[in-house]
Symmetry: C2
Subunit: 348 residues, 2 copies
């Protein structure tokens, strides 16, 4: 299948599920009292987002149950032990965690914008944003206890969610630490993005297996699928930051370079002897010209660093798809494969 057709198929599958996920989020995180707090908790959720992670959860459930995609009520979904569960609530829980991490990350990085709107701590204030994140955090765990799964499986899903959150914090701490370090090895970077970004994809996929009572090998394979495609996703983000025009990217092209943020690309370039610190001489994103970015990118390209990143992403994607072999061969599994491909072929 060519990549354009794949992308179309993926976007359609994601769009269909996004609407259902959005409905679920609206139901599961209702506007309660105190109103300002709940407005802030719902604000970022309502600002959009592709809902890739919950889509992965829903597709993993469909693949495992071997049902026709979208043929089955996600709120009364058949498991492998013939019990019905609310897999949508689990998917919503994953998205709520993602939303909480974005709100707190934006405070820590003092980012102004998120999903095209002011970050929560800009729209409200830092206190409200901390609290909105904390509220979503609790709600995510609450939701995960309400899937109706076999209690042993439900408890295991909560445990996986908790471990995942710990790892996301560790990844964010490493990210901050790396900005202060003089040397970071590419493998250390990969470990950081696995923790910061990929584990939530891992949990998104594996949670479906856990709740449905799949065997350990299947759960592990789903988890690895999420980890590998999540890492590939992050590497592709790093590539896009350098290769996509600012208009399309929605932010300054090369912003990672301007902000001296190490990526797998700059770390590879350093190993090739490129003087990364002198690549872009700008004091901030307002300062930088397209020509300067162009030149910097050319130098990284000459060093083979962009290709290195692309190859790494491809390698991870191939591995991610291989993990899916344990699932029944069906349409949902095929869509999970396509999503892995899409994560590294998407243009922005």
């Amino acid at each position: 299948m060519n990549s354009e057709a794949t992308e179309e198929r993926v976007l359609e599958a994601v769009r269909q599920r996004r609407e259902l996920v959005n409905e679920a989020l609206d139901e599961d995180i209702p506007l309660e009292e105190p109103e300002r707090l709940y407005e802030a908790t719902r604000y970022l959720l309502q600002a959009g987002g592709k809902r890739l992670r919950p889509t992965v959860t829903l597709l993993a459930a469909e693949a495992l149950a071997d049902v026709e995609p979208l043929s089955t009520d996600y709120r009364a979904f058949p498991t492998l032990d013939s019990r019905e569960i609310d897999v949508m609530t689990a998917a919503a829980s994953i998205e709520v965690i993602q939303s909480f991490t974005l709100i707190h990350d934006d405070i820590m990085d003092d980012d102004d914008l998120r999903r095209g709107v002011p970050a929560v701590h800009k729209e409200y204030d830092t206190e409200t944003a901390i609290l909105a994140g904390d509220t979503l955090y609790a709600k995510a765990f609450e939701l995960m206890t309400h899937t109706g799964a076999d209690p042993e499986n439900g408890l295991e899903a909560v445990r996986m969610l908790a471990t995942t959150c710990t790892q996301i914090c560790e990844g964010q701490a490493l990210d901050v630490e790396f900005e202060r370090r003089t040397e970071v090895l590419p493998d250390e970077y990969l470990e950081m993005i696995e923790l910061k970004t990929a584990v939530l994809y891992g949990a998104a996929a594996a949670t479906a297996g856990v709740l449905m009572g799949a065997g350990e090998d299947v759960v592990e394979a789903l988890y690895r699928y999420g980890i590998d495609s999540g890492c590939a996703f992050q590497i592709q983000d790093d590539v896009l930051d350098l290769t996509v025009p600012s208009e399309k990217l929605g932010k300054q092209r090369g912003s990672d370079l301007v902000e001296n943020k190490e990526t797998i690309i700059t770390l590879h370039a350093r190993q090739q002897g490129v003087d990364v610190d002198s690549l872009l001489d700008a004091s901030g994103v307002e300062d930088v010209t397209e020509e300067a970015v162009e030149e910097a990118v050319a130098e990284l390209d000459d060093a083979g660093s962009i290709d290195f990143a692309r190859e790494k992403a491809h390698e991870l994607t191939d591995r991610a798809k291989d993990h899916l072999e344990v699932l029944p061969d069906n349409e949902a599994r095929s869509l999970l494969r396509d999503i892995a491909d899409y994560l590294i072929t998407r243009g922005y």
Copy 2:
């Protein structure tokens, strides 16, 4: 029993369990990588604290199991369904939640000191403090899945913890909202402290019942015990802020008045026609004199507002103790009664 003897008995019971809780916290929240993150997560836990909440959990378990206090290994504790559970891990989970809320609250209130040492965001930085709180949050849920309880009970304990965290956030949001409001009713204030402070006492007590497989009525009674004594505890805090000398209090006496923080006392005084806003004319705690505080307190006292708070606290404590009647009549239950008394008789 006279109140001095009660206090001694309580302090001894708390001290004995505190040592065990501290050991458990050290084991359950180990120093991992990234080191700076885990140092920050452990920093406040190691700074001290009475460990009242985990002590309540442990005593509730002992009362329910009807065992001699401290006679039974908390890590292999008998339940009512003849399974053994690690009730210490549940107690640690409650304390970890308390620690997380303090770290985030101190950021929100920009408080410099906590437990006599710099607040985490002062000792480290705001980013690290947000992340340390988030890490503890995840760890608390992780711990609660590791008690070895019947999975249905384990899941119920997680659900209670999640609901409790949501309520704590709601309480903190109300607290912030009240500072901006022109009028707050005493009942609204009581609802706020129930959410912000008392629900964690409720969860501390009830979690033992849930994990041990106690009936709904017992769980509910333990929960109400925690709620009522937790509210009494907070009201006593408000009284102490006005009535205890600064040296003993460890902070400026009357600081709530200086910071225009409404309490049940000021809200009652307003209803009596006292012009609370003019009671203390100081721009900050550095500014205030002992005489001015003395005069303000005398005015609140004349209005009957301090007595009103004391009576309210007594009423709540009596109710709290009544709830304990569902438990077997034993030494641990008697200590839980004493703790309720201690919470409103303690001098600081």
